[in-house]
């Protein structure tokens, strides 16, 4: 067991990264933290949400486990990743979660011994030396003898090699990486739904009676306690078919749906960012896979360039006693120590800033647009959906209709010339322009999530691409409806770091020039309460411009402050005249918000999907 401390309002990711750091694991994306909810069901800790809100009344006890089993473990970059995967699989096998034949139990067991104990030593290793290890749910003497026999044959194999061999054999097992859920088919017959890297499997009494590969599945959805999949028509068929399953309850149905979303995204999509061409609003469940895809993590892994980390292989005694099904390297108990409470005055803020500077939430790997799979939360009634849509349209309309009043601009006074001449260009890489205009009172740039939710409606000021803006638009509306909400993400505005969210099709081969402009405005106006966002895309032949606007109104110590960010992403094949684009962007911002001043402008240039900071 290991103990970690987190602030009370920490997000799942904060804890997860701490654990990974502790384990010295870089290839984190395959793993996750799970906990048992109040119905004893295993749940994954959502990294993007507060731990507190997820764990509710359950004990703060987490298990570090494999979430996505890589179909080809040999492609993992680091040995330590393979080691952790082995630990998980040993647990899966010992618990019976991963069934295999006698021979396979023996073979995998022999690799475990080779990895943990090294070469077989007839002096040291008498038959009882392995009784601490558990190779199968029911371990017979015959099995142990076979394990030892095979162990002898691995002489000379290093632990890393033994782990690799273990995985080469384990990955072929039919239940490797299959996440099972109890269900009933449309006729009420008991079945198991299995979700894996390749798709959805249906089992009846240990026999696979059906299989739906991801490419065959057009849509997955859940409603009440039913789970549905829509299947592509076969060659001879004309229409799609829908298959329904009954889950024990609503939560179980949603859980299966979530697992499908995550697996599909992780294994099938190249990136969680998909350029969007469809309509402005997407109504659907708020849940999306919030991590990197396998393609992305592999790309990032290829950049890992550190000497092989040394790690202690624990005695397998721990393994046999671990009951929670996770990687028994550490059975992690994570508890909260203290709470830093609410922020209501300036003095606390610096302490908190120090705290929060410890972790980063990459704001980019947030939410998914599925091109292959349409995800629907059928929980909303038709009425709700229409109401929602209507309120969004209303807000959008009123925002767009706000007519600007002519006013002498503070802008002109501050600038020493035209915006263009103020550009400080760097020859390569990121170009950063900061115009540095501030209006009093000075904005305290602190991560918004630490602000108490009860005092004001807060929103998120983030750089987002169009699809994400849509998501936050919806969420923000919900915030303003419910009167209490939490900022979805932290965003440290103090550092003008490169944003990675760009509407680029990661699969395109041609070099796409992208300009990302962010225009920040601050003011004291009494604007619209809550957060309002719009997104607008203009596409010409060679350029595509997407503008998103976010308005945040915050209350600090009695002072009302409104902050607006306009984010403009320009994508195009040809070279973009960003001077002109910038000037245009600033001009538009001024026109739309005449009572505010531009405080900061940031320009980024990106030509490819940026690497992740880790």
């Amino acid at each position: 067991k290991s103990y970690f401390s987190v602030i009370k309002r920490a997000k799942g990711q904060y804890l997860f990264f701490q654990v990974c750091d502790h384990l010295n694991l870089l290839e984190k994306d395959y793993f996750g933290l799970s906990f048992k909810d109040n119905t004893e069901q295993s749940c994954w800790l959502d990294p993007t949400k507060d731990i507190k809100r997820q764990i509710r009344n359950s004990q703060w006890q987490f298990v570090f486990s494999v979430k996505f089993y890589p179909p080809d473990p040999s492609q993992l970059t680091e040995d330590i990743t393979r080691y952790l995967l082995c630990l998980q699989l040993r647990q899966d096998i010992a618990s019976g979660r991963l069934p295999c034949s006698f021979v396979t139990h023996a073979l995998l067991g022999s690799y475990t011994l080779q990895a943990e104990l090294g070469d077989h030593d007839p002096e040291e290793h008498r038959l009882d030396y392995i009784s601490d290890f558990q190779f199968a749910p029911n371990q017979t003497k015959e099995l142990e003898e076979k394990v030892v026999e095979l162990h002898k044959s691995h002489r000379g194999m290093t632990p890393a090699q033994a782990d690799t061999q273990f995985l080469e054999n384990a990955k072929k097992l039919s239940m490797y990486g299959v996440d099972l859920h109890h269900a009933k088919d449309s006729e009420g017959v008991d079945i198991m739904l299995g979700v894996c890297a390749n798709g959805l499997l249906i089992y009846k009494d240990r026999l696979r009676i059906n299989r739906f590969a991801w490419p065959k599945i057009l849509k997955i959805s859940y409603k009440r306690s039913n789970f549905y999949i829509k299947i592509r028509p076969g060659e001879a068929e004309q229409f799609e078919s829908t298959v329904g399953f009954k889950l024990p309850n609503h939560r179980a149905a949603k859980r299966v749906w979530k697992v499908c979303v995550e697996h599909h995204t992780f294994f099938r999509l190249v990136s969680t960012e998909q350029p969007t061409k469809t309509k402005f609003l997407t109504l659907g469940s708020k849940f999306r896979y919030s991590g990197r895809t396998q393609a992305q993590t592999r790309q990032a892994s290829s950049l890992i360039d550190r000497p092989t980390p040394y790690f202690q292989r624990t005695s397998s005694k721990r393994i046999s006693r671990s009951l929670d099904g996770g990687i028994a390297l550490h059975l992690l108990c994570l508890c909260v120590t203290g709470t830093l409470g609410l922020v209501s005055n300036g003095s606390m803020s610096s302490a908190l800033l120090n705290e929060t500077s410890l972790y980063e939430i990459p704001g980019e790997n947030i939410y998914v647009r599925h091109s292959n799979l349409m995800l629907e939360d059928l929980d909303k009634t038709q009425e709700d959906v229409l109401k929602h849509q209507a309120s969004i349209s209303e807000l959008k309309r009123s925002f767009m209709e706000a007519t600007p009043e002519p006013r002498p601009s503070q802008w002109d006074k501050r600038l020493t010339g035209s915006p263009a001449t103020s550009l400080r260009l760097q020859a390569h890489g990121v170009r950063v322009l900061v115009l540095g205009i501030r209006t009093p009172p000075q904005t305290l740039r602190m991560p918004l999530s630490l602000c108490s939710a009860e005092n004001f409606k807060c929103g998120c000021v983030l750089s987002l691409s169009c699809s994400l803006a849509r998501y936050f638009f919806k969420r923000a509306l919900k915030c303003s409806e419910t009167k209490s909400c939490q900022a979805a993400h932290n965003f440290d505005m103090a550092s003008p770091t490169l944003t990675k969210t760009v509407g680029i099709n990661a699969e395109s081969r041609s070099c796409v020039a992208v300009r990302v402009l962010r225009v920040f405005l601050d003011g004291n106006g009494d604007g619209e309460p809550g957060v309002l966002m719009t997104a607008q895309t203009i596409t010409s032949e060679s350029l595509c411009t997407t503008t998103t606007t976010h308005i945040t109104k915050t209350l600090k110590g009695g002072l009302s402050e409104t902050r607006i960010e306009k984010r403009i992403v320009i994508t195009g094949d040809s070279d973009i005249d960003h001077d002109q684009a910038l000037a245009q962007a600033i001009k538009e911002a001024k026109e739309q918000h005449p009572d505010m001043s531009v405080t900061r402008v940031v320009v980024h240039k990106e030509t490819e999907l940026a690497e992740d900071e880790d």
Partner: protein, 244 residues
């Protein structure tokens, strides 16, 4: 899937005279016993001399007219042999001799003793990665389950078999990852399962065309076909090489 389709041994069984009259069949054609025996001898010769297998020949049993079709008596994969419980009552005892032969070879024997289970080896298709079990008049769900228990490493999927005797009456492995299947059945098969199929009504032609890098040895089976016997029915193929 390397090593798929490699075998070292084969178990076969001689043709009983009672086959001509008493072997189970769907059609009503007369069977020429001499021709059946000729076919059998050629078949064994190919296994022995062309393919270099070590062939264990079991003697015929006149009380078991279908005993030449040993495939139905057992399913062998790796080092494990599942001795089946044939769907046809008259064939149940065929498993005794086959079981003895497989035991002698040193295989790990699993017996299907559950009386609610039936399984003919002809309904079991192993692709190298997984099993397909045809649910037919001879093989039922319970039989498939027992097979799944016997071979825990592999996924076992069921396929309905309606218009033929066995699953392997209309399909077979044509190489690693490749199933050759009659086109009328193909639709049913491919819709459910992720397999590469060659589909052609005339398997003979398509096999020649599509499997150019295989050595194809034509062997007649016409006479046995009159009693619904296929090529694979006449042998149980075993790989005794240790591949660990």
């Amino acid at each position: 899937m390397s090593g798929f389709g490699c075998f070292t041994h084969a178990v076969v069984r001689a043709v009983p005279q009672s086959l001509a009259r008493d072997a189970l069949r769907s059609g009503g054609l007369e069977v020429d016993l001499l021709k059946v025996q000729e076919e059998y001898e050629e078949y064994v010769s190919v296994l022995k001399h062309r393919l270099g297998l070590e062939v264990l020949e079991l003697p015929a049993d006149e009380a078991l007219p279908d005993c030449v079709f040993v495939e139905d008596a057992a399913v062998v994969c790796g080092d494990t042999a599942l001795v089946s419980r044939p769907g046809a009552q008259s064939r149940r005892r065929e498993t005794e001799a086959v079981k003895a032969a497989l035991t002698e070879l040193g295989l790990n024997i699993v017996e299907m003793t559950d009386e609610s289970a039936t399984l003919d080896g002809g309904d079991v298709l192993f692709t190298g990665r997984e099993f397909f079990v045809g649910l037919s008049k001879r093989t039922n769900q319970r039989g498939a389950e027992i097979l799944a228990d016997a071979f825990k490493d592999y996924a076992v999927s069921t396929v309905p078999v309606q218009d033929a005797l066995h699953l392997k009456s209309f399909c077979s492995m044509a190489g690693p990852g490749l199933i050759a299947i009659g086109s009328s059945e193909a639709a049913n098969f491919s819709a459910k399962f992720d397999v590469r199929l060659i589909c052609d009504v005339c398997i003979y032609i398509c096999v020649f065309e599509k499997l150019k890098d295989h050595m194809l040895i034509p062997v007649t089976n016409q006479e046995k076909a009159k009693v619904d016997g296929g090529l694979t029915c006449c042998s149980v193929l075993i790989n005794m090489k240790k591949n660990i």
